[in-house]
């Protein structure tokens, strides 16, 4: 005997579970979005990390790749879209950008493809040699620690508190 209601509810339940799985399943890299202030400038993206008090400047191509990190777009898909930012469709360029993004802690999930050995940046530049203009477009992230005004005034840009000054020794008495 068939129970249409049960069958329907069962299929709905399975559908919901599958949908959840589809959402949670990250095929490609996923950008971190929490605890960040993101400001878009004409040629780059400025990111402030509230947790680590760091400011990152992502150049145009890195911003483009970071924007593609929605968890669904694969590295190959991103590479295919690279000509939109003036670069050739080379997956190694994407991997380099992802590596830099990961180092800056701007990725929520680490793609397994980054474990493979990457060609050096010099190799990439050599590969792009013919297209001299595109070398300047290669992914770059420049980062600084945001020093508090007190640290900036003391010239100390690290998070460590200043060491206490040693107590001056009492002057020796002349014999």
């Amino acid at each position: 005997m068939r129970l249409p209601f049960c069958e329907l509810s069962m299929s709905l339940w399975i559908g919901v579970k599958e949908g959840q799985n589809m959402e949670n399943q990250t095929v490609g890299p996923l950008a971190r979005k929490t605890d960040l202030t993101i400001e878009q400038l004409p040629s780059e993206t400025v990111v402030y990390d509230h947790k680590r008090h760091r400011v990152h400047c992502l150049n145009h191509s890195t911003s483009f790749i970071w924007a593609c990190c929605d968890g669904r777009t694969t590295i190959e898909d991103m590479a295919a879209r690279l000509p939109e930012s003036g670069l050739p469709p080379d997956p190694d360029i994407v991997r380099h950008a992802l590596k830099a993004l990961e180092r800056a802690r701007l990725l929520a999930s680490r793609p397994a493809a980054l474990d493979a050995t990457l060609p050096s940046r010099r190799m990439l530049v050599r590969r792009l040699g013919a297209a001299a203009g595109s070398v300047a477009l290669l992914p770059v992230i420049t980062s600084i620690i945001a020093p508090t005004p007190a640290m900036a005034q003391s010239g100390d840009s690290h998070a460590d508190p200043p060491k206490p000054k040693p107590k001056p020794k009492p002057p020796k008495r002349p014999h």
């Binding site: 400001e39 004409p42 402030y48 007190a150 900036a152």
Partner: protein, 412 residues
């Protein structure tokens, strides 16, 4: 576009091109040409820092960094990142303080600093921030001070006597004990001598809520902001381009402002000339389009146009900022009402005639004869400056009025 803006330094020309590229999006041809002509050197970054406009220069030049010498682009990027980091940190701190004061039911208005960056530029990274400015009602001053002290702030130890001068000053500087954040806690928008009658109640009634780093922050209305920016620029004798850029940005950010009403309000407050000078500078330097009412008002206001010209020439000269009498005279010329001018002059004279430690060291008088210190001070100043300042002035006057032979007589 400015017709008579003569600028000699190539760095200043490039900075102006950067500002105009920011305000006239799409007009980058001159900027690119200048950048390619190697106009940029270390002085570019130095001048941008001096005028507080590193973020705007960086925003304009960063797409074409390949045209700049590497040392210039690196220095500019470092300065920009440091400025952005500071703005974000102060933005976080403003969000924290606003929330804390709201919880304590202390009405507080944030103005300038990160609030200004958020309202005008829409991005904290595009405006340099040095401190936070928070305005509270005068009667809530002590409560606000206590609240901020709870958060780790303390009055600037270099000004221990700030309470004695509350009738003359407008704010107290608070410094965070650990982080070093600086907060100017205001009980008035300007010094009483400046005669800028925008009270807290009026500002509070017209306030608006904005988001700074995701937190709600109360700030002043666009109309009040423009009046305040004009007064603030005048108070600093328009010595920095960032104040001019703020006015330009405000004109762009609030395109639907009722300028006729604003000019009428400015007239009632006695700050119409300051507003016109600010708008005129923004149009000349940043190439923003002036709204119709301002254009018409400026066309009939020769004094404001002359002031614009003088301020412009001073902005790009390497002369130091005006101080003392020169600064006071600029304040006087910026005002249109006689009573405001007299008040500014009277305050200046009162400050200069107030007996100091040197006068008191000359002779000790009992409290009932305190007033005698004023003629003593006058006499002391006369004797001190007789040879240095007064004799040359008299000689100059004699040379002009008396026969030449008299003025040529050697001093005794």
């Amino acid at each position: 576009m400015p017709s008579d803006l003569h600028v000699n330094s190539s760095e200043i020309t490039l900075i102006l091109a950067c500002l105009r590229a920011h305000y006239e999006s799409g007009n980058r041809s001159k900027l690119l040409q200048l950048a390619r002509d190697k106009a940029a050197s270390g002085q570019l970054v130095e001048n941008a820092c001096r005028h507080g406009i590193v973020p705007l220069v960086y925003e304009a030049l960063s797409p074409d960094f390949a045209c700049l010498p590497p040392e210039v682009s690196t220095a500019l990027r470092q300065e920009f990142q440091a400025s952005a980091a500071n703005s974000f940190l102060y933005g976080d701190e403003l969000a924290r303080l606003s929330e804390f004061l709201q919880r304590r039911s202390i009405p507080a208005l944030a103005f300038k600093g990160p609030a200004l960056a958020a309202v005008l530029y829409g991005k904290l990274s595009l405006r340099t921030v040095r401190d936070l400015d928070i305005l509270v009602p005068p009667e809530q001053m002590d409560r606000a001070l206590e609240a901020l002290q709870e958060l780790g702030y303390a009055p600037d130890p270099r000004r221990p006597d700030w309470r004695a001068e509350t009738h003359l000053a407008k704010h107290v500087l608070l410094i965070h004990k650990n982080a070093g954040f600086q907060v100017e806690l205001h009980w008035a928008i300007a010094e009483r001598s400046f005669g800028f009658g925008l009270s807290f109640d009026k500002l509070w009634a017209a306030r608006r809520e904005i988001a700074v780093q995701g937190a709600p922050v109360e700030t002043i209305s666009p109309e009040d902001l423009l009046l305040l920016l004009s007064a603030h620029g005048t108070n600093h004798c328009w010595g920095s381009l960032k104040w001019v850029c703020d006015i330009a940005e405000a004109m762009r950010a609030f395109p639907n402002l009722d300028w006729d009403h604003l000019l009428m309000r400015a007239r009632a407050l006695g700050c119409r000339r300051m507003l016109l000078v600010g708008a005129g500078l923004a149009a000349d330097i940043c190439s923003v389009d002036l709204p119709g009412p301002v254009q018409r008002a400026l066309a009939y206001h020769a004094a404001a146009r002359i002031m614009c010209r003088e301020i412009r020439s001073r902005l790009f000269a390497s002369r130091p900022l005006p101080v003392d009498l020169e600064r006071t005279l600029i304040f006087v010329r910026s005002r249109e009402r006689l009573r405001d001018r007299l008040r500014i002059l009277a305050t200046f004279l009162a400050t200069k005639l107030r007996p100091g430690a040197r006068d008191r060291a000359l002779i000790h008088l009992p409290g009932s004869l305190e007033a005698l210190y004023i003629p003593i001070r006058l006499l002391r100043l006369l004797l001190t400056y007789w040879r240095r300042a007064i004799v040359p002035i008299i000689r100059g006057a004699l040379g002009q009025v008396w026969p030449r032979g008299w003025a040529m007589l050697p001093p005794e």
